[in-house]
Subunit: 313 residues, 2 copies
């Protein structure tokens, strides 16, 4: 039997937003309840080509499939007219070890599950009447976080703060063209929004904790290595509710870990983001809430398996 390979267009068509949101929610809940298996990833460096390769696996315990995801980043590629990132997902039967299919999605599902997780957690933790969203960063995830959140709740205005005014303006145009009012904003103005999502590769905080208003919610999704840092420890110190998608991982290389090491909060001050998706969040109107999302491998498994079942249906 020939191994089925599905390309990005096929994956994109099968991965409806409802499917992605439902699957991401269920997987985050499963992860919060300890029903996932995520081994330490495999990592290689290619210094001569400014490249790296990460291989991540994940499984929702007891599910029919698990996944092995290969993701490469070669940062000189754009100079040759190529995308920096490539990758694919292998969907493997957890009953027989047979490889069911390859999703040659070039990172699409990773981008979408990251967007869905950010939107779900932000929606669950923000005040019901929160209307203004600020995004820090003007890349693909900034765009996706705004558009996926707007699928869950009305977003009155998107404030975009990017290092490059040109890219921030371009993102605002794109969001507006899709019906989401958006305009560039200073860091100071963006920090005063009702909802804030940071999507940058920053290695120092991108906003000032004092500028975040009472009642606001902040979600950080950019930190994926110990030296990265988007949210200041003082923001965690102000927060009445802190959620992490994976406690150990956020301690190791998330903004939460920076806050703990700075002494702003204690190691046990967070709750599992998945738990908040299961039961409504109890948050005082004037509380500051913070979510630190570093990405959960079990979401890849759940989403790739769900998409493959759609493709084969």
């Amino acid at each position: 039997m020939t191994l089925p390979v599905f390309d990005t267009a096929a994956v994109q068509k099968a991965a409806t937003s409802q499917l992605v949101l439902d699957t991401a929610r269920a997987a985050l809940v499963a992860h919060a309840e300890g029903r996932t298996s995520v081994p330490p990833p495999l990592h290689m460096e290619f210094p001569g080509a400014d490249g790296d390769c990460h291989v991540k696996a994940g499984w929702i315990t007891g599910a029919a499939d698990f996944t092995v995801k290969i993701a490469t980043g070669f940062y000189g590629n754009p100079q040759a007219g190529l995308a920096s990132n490539h990758g694919l997902v292998c969907v493997v039967s957890a009953r027989t070890g047979q490889i069911r299919a390859i999703l040659d999605d070039r990172g699409l599902l990773t981008a979408w599950r990251t967007a869905a997780a950010g939107a779900l957690v932000t929606h669950a933790m923000a005040r019901p009447d929160a209307a203004t969203l600020a995004v820090f960063g003007a890349g693909e995830q900034a765009r996706l976080q705004a558009t996926w959140l707007a699928r869950l709740r009305p977003v009155g205005m998107v404030l975009v703060h990017g290092r490059s005014p040109h890219r921030a303006a371009a993102l605002c145009e794109e969001l507006s063209a899709h019906g989401l009012p958006a305009r560039p904003a200073s860091a100071h103005e963006a920090a005063a929004a009702d909802m804030i999502i940071t999507t940058t590769p920053a290695t120092a905080p991108v906003l000032d904790a004092d500028q975040v208003r009472e009642g606001a919610h902040v979600t950080g999704i950019g930190a994926d290595m110990p030296h990265k840092n988007e949210l200041p420890p003082a923001l965690f110190g102000r927060a009445q509710l802190i959620a992490t998608d994976d406690h150990a991982q956020c301690l190791d290389h998330g903004d939460f870990g920076h806050a703990v090491r700075a002494g702003a909060v204690a190691e046990g001050d967070d709750i599992a983001a998945g738990a908040l998706l299961k039961s409504p969040v109890d948050r005082p109107d004037n509380a500051v809430t913070v979510a630190d999302l570093t990405g959960v491998g079990a979401l890849d498994a759940a989403l790739a398996s769900a998409v493959l079942n759609e493709l084969l249906a």
Copy 2:
């Protein structure tokens, strides 16, 4: 562009024995010279299905491609009429991170590079006039080690020692049918052969060091986990030349590690198998020599890349 997938038949046709031997030899030499990159593998367990998954990556430093290999073993499969082992190899450009192709070879290249490495090292270390080969074990690797060694030098007789007399007899018939005289043998008789290759999953030595004759060579290829052990420490103690395919790996989970921990040899008593393939081995006629091969991930990379280049040529 659609991701090319090559099935087992295509891979088998492209992987001529000359290509496999040349590539394995060059990769072992590169590994001995420190010109390879092999990160710690990723590992998952599926206890409910008696299954596991290993993901291994490898790169010959500076080569155009690297590989990520997924291998599963689900040991209840035969009861359902399925093979226990499945897997594939992704060949990835080390210049751009683009995935060049999938070799859906179901473990074929791993089996062949293991056979080629065993044959190359056994041929290099055995006496030129050694004629009798004993294999311990009667499975696929026992068959492959005998047939691949016979491609490098005349083999007068193969003595097969297996736990199952039935399987040993079947292997002898198969080898004889392919022009290699073979007959079942006791462990005692097999241990007295000119060349010995052990290919078992044993957890205790399969032969007695005293029964190995002066001038003999022994290659162990079965140990792939710390609790496995085929060759007795006393055999290493008798050896005048000990080769390992990867010093650290053989110390960790090879027979050499058992011998070091038993005090039979010192940690620095081995030399790199790849070094022996580059320069002729200086071995006294009556010396006992031993090779401990635990498998080098860089061979996967070199072989898959060479096979892909044949397939695309």
